[in-house]
Symmetry: C2
Subunit: 382 residues, 2 copies
């Protein structure tokens, strides 16, 4: 298949592009390299040293003989984007190319406005390009489990059957997102659903949990293909951030009680889920929603796992309960359905001590690159 991976220079996009290329697909990366610019803005970096994108794909071609095309394009630039659609004629468009950090969107008004404009308009442009150039192209859009918030009922996959006053309907699952970033994904979901309805576009919204891990089979033991790894208070996420904190001898920074429960998955499952979606496209006009995660954990549970694995390696690790910089429920019901992708063939890579140990080894290898002043959260929701 001809597949565009937008955001193919990022943490999820890069290993997805490699995996789809290895599977024999004709992969094109569209990326404006902005994730690297945000590192500059925040004076931060990836724990792992990553090559420029052009060198990464060259290395991949040398190693595998497989070519990945690259366009340095911002999805906000519609004319260029449309031209790419004309040249590539994609059968699937995998859309990772959004600002994906909740804290980044909460820095101030400018960052909130940037996040919503960038994500919503970029996605609208993709919808118009599909409509105008390749109406059969399957949009595979990365959403987030955070769109749902933490309702006191089970979270279904995108829709819920509601009985009310003697009547019933199947309606979009109510959304209660927790940051201007998460809100942008809710806006996207509504826009895509409408485009499917009026233009007959086929789309899959992958409401992804929090991704952990680093290595996939494609980059294993190849420094030039290594994925980025974020540890800072802005782009670092629970579990990966804890592992790196353990590696540098920093307390694990749990926000509040840590009883917040979230959905998680291994980066290896991210790439496999995208492949499953691509191989099983949504119907014309269908807005399909999959909940893309494999397990649920509380944040404190993860910190304790990391502590145990790190201590077995002789590292001293304590857990620190910081004042929660976010406005969120700490004690709440949480249970979400995730059967669709498993029914289509996903075999989850569950979290094991061995996996934590493996990522911790990589973190120890590169620990001198960590800028310690970036580890603590410095952005509050208030």
């Amino acid at each position: 298949m001809r597949i565009i991976v937008a955001g193919g220079d990022g943490f999820c996009g890069w290993p997805t592009a490699l995996y789809l290329s290895k599977q024999g697909h004709d992969v094109t990366i569209v990326d404006n390299m902005v994730r690297r610019k945000w590192d500059d803005e925040l004076r931060s970096n990836s724990l792992t040293p990553i090559l420029p994108l052009e060198e990464r794909v060259q290395r991949w071609e040398e190693k595998t003989g497989k070519h990945i095309s690259v366009y340095d394009c911002d999805l906000m630039h519609y004319d260029f984007l449309k031209e790419i659609f004309k040249q590539v004629q994609p059968e699937a468009f995998v859309h990772f190319a959004e600002q994906r950090s909740a804290p980044y969107s909460m820095i101030d008004r400018e960052h909130a406005v940037f996040t919503q404009t960038n994500n919503v308009v970029g996605n609208l442009n993709v919808l118009y390009a599909i409509k105008e150039v390749t109406p059969d192209c399957h949009l595979i859009k990365l959403g987030t489990m955070g769109e749902y918030g933490q309702p006191n009922i089970d979270i279904e996959e995108g829709y819920i059957k509601i009985e009310h006053k003697g009547r019933e309907d199947v309606l979009p699952f109510p959304k209660q997102p927790g940051s201007f970033y998460h809100l942008s994904k809710v806006h996207d979901s509504h826009n895509i659903q409408f485009a499917c309805k009026i233009w007959g576009i086929r789309a899959t919204d992958l409401n992804q949990g929090i991704v952990y891990g680093l290595h996939t089979d494609e980059d294993e033991h190849d420094e030039g293909l290594i994925n980025r790894l974020d540890y800072d208070g802005v782009f670092g996420t629970a579990l990966n951030r804890f592992i790196i904190q353990a590696a540098i001898g920093h307390n694990l920074t749990v926000y509040g009680s840590g009883k917040q429960t979230r959905a998680f998955l291994n980066i290896k499952d991210t790439i496999r889920c995208v492949e499953i979606a691509a191989e099983n496209p949504a119907d014309k006009g269908e807005f399909r929603v999959f909940n893309q995660f494999t397990e649920e954990f509380s944040v404190l549970e993860l910190a304790e796992k990391v502590q145990r694995v790190a201590e077995a390696k002789g590292l001293k690790v304590s857990i620190d309960h910081l004042e929660n910089p976010r406005v969120e429920k700490e004690e709440h019901y949480y249970h979400a359905v995730n059967t669709s992708l498993i029914d289509l063939g996903l075999e989850p890579s569950l979290l094991t001590d061995e996996h934590i140990s493996r990522t911790l080894d990589t973190a120890l290898k590169y620990k001198d690159r960590v800028l310690k002043e970036n580890v603590l959260p410095n952005i509050t929701w208030k």
Copy 2:
């Protein structure tokens, strides 16, 4: 009360500003006059001749002795908006200042992107200005009944209690908006709800039906204060558009079967609902939703009413079923709850033949101003 009416030069905003001023409130209009520019862009006009805003408010002051301040400000310009908040110190901010036409948002990609950016970012700026300058200010935001779409269950006021798999919660009512414009209002609602939660802002989302009518007590028999009246296929809405079509001898343009049912209210009730919301502010941190309409009609029913009233005046009127330019259900269940505003004191001005007759008389008076080529819909959802 010190009240800002944003969009105070428009069809709903102008009579609201006059009414609140008459009631003794200290009214400030914020408007960038863009509604008049859209007339230029679309080569259209208001049926009624309207004075420039500065002259309108001067006329009001001459007539009543009451002063209305005016700022020519685009809500996209945050620094100016914030300065206005500092100077006015508003206790309520009535937010009409959005692009409000569904067809306009469907013209093409540029208009879809403009509508969502203008509405969503303008509203984010208002939220930040309230947070930063006047945290107690009550945001009275115009939403639309179109946010809900046409679900097969009764539409509640913003929230619905859902029982699911043995658990229950009260959650935001699911949204199924039918244009990029309606989507922008859904995005706004989600953003406001979040801002209420994290910053303690007080907000009322008025999910308004389709507004008909023209005159209010404040402009009655005063040409200089007259409200604008839209009849074109882009900004003209059902009922008002039919009345003007009857006046110029044009067929009434019903889209499809006309069995689409929608919620309606008189412009006199719009201004009263805003007053009720202002006098009964939401609590700190409360995101309150009222459904602001008084009656439900099918589009065909309204055309038939107008036909009957017009024929009684000796006008010849036929009803034309055009191919529906929109993608929408024509046969559907529709029933929405609207008790909150009535419980707070709204006494609905229901639709009477006399009311249609009165607006028709005004339309006949100005019928030579109508640009007939603008009457038909020329924007399709496909």
